[in-house]
């Protein structure tokens, strides 16, 4: 088997036309003034790529550019090398296979964000030392106090009642793993609300206290928040969001600007709600508390129904109507009806 090739000796930029011939296990080079012979196992081929002609590199630094694909393939076959990149090359060149690669890539990125990151975040969250978590929570509270929250307008008597209620919830749930602390605030912007920060800080708004018809309802909400702390949901959320940010940054190429996660933390906590799975976990803790108190899950179901109604009213949303399935899927908070249904069934 033989072919024509351009020969570059690697010492000067001049080229000459040569004929390459495979003779047994040797590659013979017939040039205008050169006649060389190299064992096939000593020559190296460039990777097959697109429709670029293949280069044969000789041990003395010379190179031949070969137009003939089959010739290069023949050498590789005899050498028994290059299988992997031949496979890659045919993969890249087939529209169908490239499309498969595209679908696989999208599926993998989606799967990683959906399953891989939450799993990683959970492990990482449990590995965070309690001191760091407390510091982070304290810092976040400071920023929230400057932005969304105002001091509570409740009188001292009511405040101490609520603190006692919170202590009872923590005691009932045997939650001694964290330094739990209740912070009472008012927030016209956030309305009736309660949320948990990393390290065990639980924030309760005056608006929620006003909305509750019974203290056990407030206790159920607090138990729900204690559930978020118990399962490190805030920490997991923070880690998840920063990993997603890092992933996006690496894909778009801007790595250094994604390092500061502390600045984005407060808004992230308020804006992004806990994932559906996390909400269910926390709901179960609320039910666990109510059972131990001898109450039913109805207490919790009725306050979240009222919360939903209050928020739908302020946001101008359709509260009791049917939700479209798409909207339901994309909201991270499980639809309230679904949650209430689940609570009542679990009774």
């Amino acid at each position: 088997m033989e072919t024509h090739a351009s020969y570059f000796d690697g010492r000067s930029s001049g080229s000459r036309q040569v004929v390459l011939r495979i003779e047994g296990s040797e590659l013979r080079l017939h040039g205008t003034d050169a006649k060389e012979c190299w064992p096939l196992k000593d020559v190296r081929l460039s990777m097959p790529l697109g429709s670029i002609r293949r280069a044969i590199y000789f041990p003395d630094g010379a190179r031949c550019d070969v137009e003939d694909r089959h010739f290069a393939l023949r050498i590789e076959r005899i050498q028994g090398r290059g299988k992997f990149f031949r496979g890659i090359h045919s993969w890249e060149n087939s529209l169908k296979l490239a499309f498969t690669a595209l679908v696989l890539t999208i599926a993998l990125v989606w799967g990683f964000i959906q399953f891989g990151i939450p799993e990683l975040a959970e492990r990482a969250a449990y590995a965070v030392p309690p001191v760091t978590e407390t510091d982070l929570g304290q810092e976040t509270l400071g920023i929230l106090d400057k932005t969304f929250l105002k001091p509570s307008g409740l009188d001292a008597g009511r405040r101490s009642e609520l603190k006692k209620l919170f202590d009872r919830v923590v005691l009932r749930l045997d939650a001694a793993d964290r330094l739990y602390r209740l912070e009472l605030r008012s927030s016209p912007r956030l309305g009736a609300n309660a949320f948990a920060l990393p390290g065990g800080i639980v924030i309760l708004t005056d608006e929620l206290v006003a909305l509750a018809e019974h203290d056990e309802e407030i206790a159920a909400v607090l138990a729900h928040e204690v559930g978020h702390v118990r399962y490190r949901h805030s920490m997991r959320q923070v880690i998840q969001n920063s990993v997603v940010g890092l992933l996006v940054a690496t894909l778009t190429g801007d790595v250094l600007s994604a390092t500061s996660m502390a600045a984005a933390l407060p808004t992230m906590l308020v804006d992004s709600k806990f994932s559906r799975e996390m909400e269910r976990e926390a709901d179960d803790v609320a039910v666990e508390y109510l059972r131990r108190e001898g109450e039913t899950a109805d207490r919790f179901a009725s306050i979240i129904a009222r919360l939903e109604k209050a928020h739908a009213g302020t946001a101008g949303q359709d509260s009791g109507g049917e939700r479209s399935r798409i909207a339901d899927y994309f909201s991270t908070h499980p639809a309230t009806e679904e949650r209430i249904e689940r609570l009542r069934q679990g009774r």
Partner: protein, 395 residues
């Protein structure tokens, strides 16, 4: 009458021609063998013509033959394998990408070649990744440590740039002659550390000069085999571009301010223009205006850099146009965003084709006389550090 022998200066193909058949006003001839034209007049005697060829300048265009469809396959397989192997494949992906672009760039019918060993790159990548993790963890742990590490990296950067260029050039070749780079660390520290530190104290006035020094450093230390590159631009050329850019910027700001005022005061009647639309349109116009000014400055400096560069006796002509470049870059950006990144390969090919189509190598004599130099092996640490921290030294 005796036939005369005409020799093609490009390929040496000869042909005997009857002088009576040559038109009187002929200025150039086309070679049948290589299909390239050369200056020719019928009064030229064969020997006189040969003599003319010695001082002959030939314009050799760069030709880019990459295809978006082909590169899409390479790009998507690279992306998938990088994800599946958790990044281990990225040196191979990088080499394939570079090889595709180099291999499809031709000068005088011969393509460029990228020969980096992915295993060497992998080693560099691992070191760079360790450094990056140190930096991230360090700066999250304590801001002070972050600042110290930042200063360390700043001091390390010129070294990284030199190593990165060394590695890259030594693994790039044309006609089997490798490029090289002179490791001028002193110059690198001046251009990338000391002068940038001084710039803020001059109110930014030093910036065009610093930029000039960086371009000069990158160009002048290149070698093709044993042939040196020279850079004949002056600092004042860069100040001239800076002034023109500034002027263009002021003109755009003025225009924007005028049109906004007219819209606000109702001088220019736009009934469909609600305040909301004006509120979106104005910042958008500012962003696009900023892009256009930056692209203008970029195109001018790229042209200046190439047009001031000599390789031995040969020189380059780059004739990029700001309006073409703006159109390509802005439409590329729109296409990439609207396709969720799927048109990235198409956009890269399109940009490379435009840039290379506008680049010409003007050769004095043939391209066969370049000589190779003896080269030691180079590690890829600098290359990969430069890559992961996004230090862009390309032009």
């Amino acid at each position: 009458m005796n036939p005369i022998t005409v020799t093609c200066p490009h390929c040496g193909h000869t042909k005997d021609v009857d002088p009576r058949k040559i038109p009187a006003d002929v200025k150039s001839a086309l070679c049948r063998a290589c299909e390239r034209s050369f200056p020719f007049s019928h009064r030229m005697e064969t020997d006189a013509f040969r003599a003319a060829v010695v001082g002959f300048q030939e314009e050799i265009p760069f030709v880019f033959t990459g295809k978006a469809r082909e590169y899409f396959g390479i790009w998507i397989v690279n992306t998938l394998l990088k994800i599946v192997t958790l990044g281990i494949y990225s040196p191979w992906a990088k080499v394939r990408k570079r090889q595709y672009f180099y291999g499809n760039t031709q000068l005088d019918g011969e393509n460029f070649d990228y020969m980096a060993n992915p295993l060497v790159l992998l080693k560099g990548l691992l070191i760079a990744a360790v450094l990056f993790i140190c930096y991230t963890v360090g700066s999250n742990y304590s801001p002070m440590l972050g600042i110290i590490l930042g200063i360390l990296f700043f001091l390390l950067m010129p070294w990284v740039i030199v190593r990165s260029r060394l590695f890259n050039n030594r693994n790039s070749a044309h006609r089997n002659i490798r490029f090289n780079f002179r490791p001028a660390y002193g110059e690198a520290y001046a251009a990338y550390a000391w002068l940038p530190i001084l710039t803020p104290f001059t109110g930014g006035l030093l910036f065009p000069y610093v930029y000039y020094r960086q371009r000069r450093f990158l160009m002048e230390n290149n070698l093709f085999g044993t042939s040196r590159f020279t850079f004949k631009a002056r600092g004042k050329d860069f100040y001239f571009i800076a002034l023109k850019t500034l002027g263009l910027g002021l003109l755009l700001i003025g225009g924007l301010a005028a049109s906004t005022t007219m819209l606000m005061t109702g001088l220019l009647k736009a009934p469909s223009m609600s305040p909301v639309i004006a509120g979106i349109a104005t910042p958008l116009a500012i962003i696009i205006g900023y892009f256009l000014v930056m692209i203008y400055a970029y195109v001018r400096t790229v042209n200046l850099t190439w047009n001031s560069t000599l390789l031995g006796e040969n020189h380059f002509v780059s004739s990029l146009r700001a309006r073409d470049m703006s159109w390509i870059l802005l439409s590329n950006l729109a296409a990439v965003i609207l396709s969720f990144g799927l048109l990235v390969p198409w956009a890269s090919i399109r940009l490379a084709r435009y840039r290379l189509n506008k680049l010409i190598f003007v050769a004095h004599g043939d391209l066969d006389h370049f000589r190779a130099a003896q080269l030691p092996e180079t590690s890829a640490v600098g290359e990969e550090i430069g890559d992961i921290f996004d230090i862009d030294v390309a032009f």
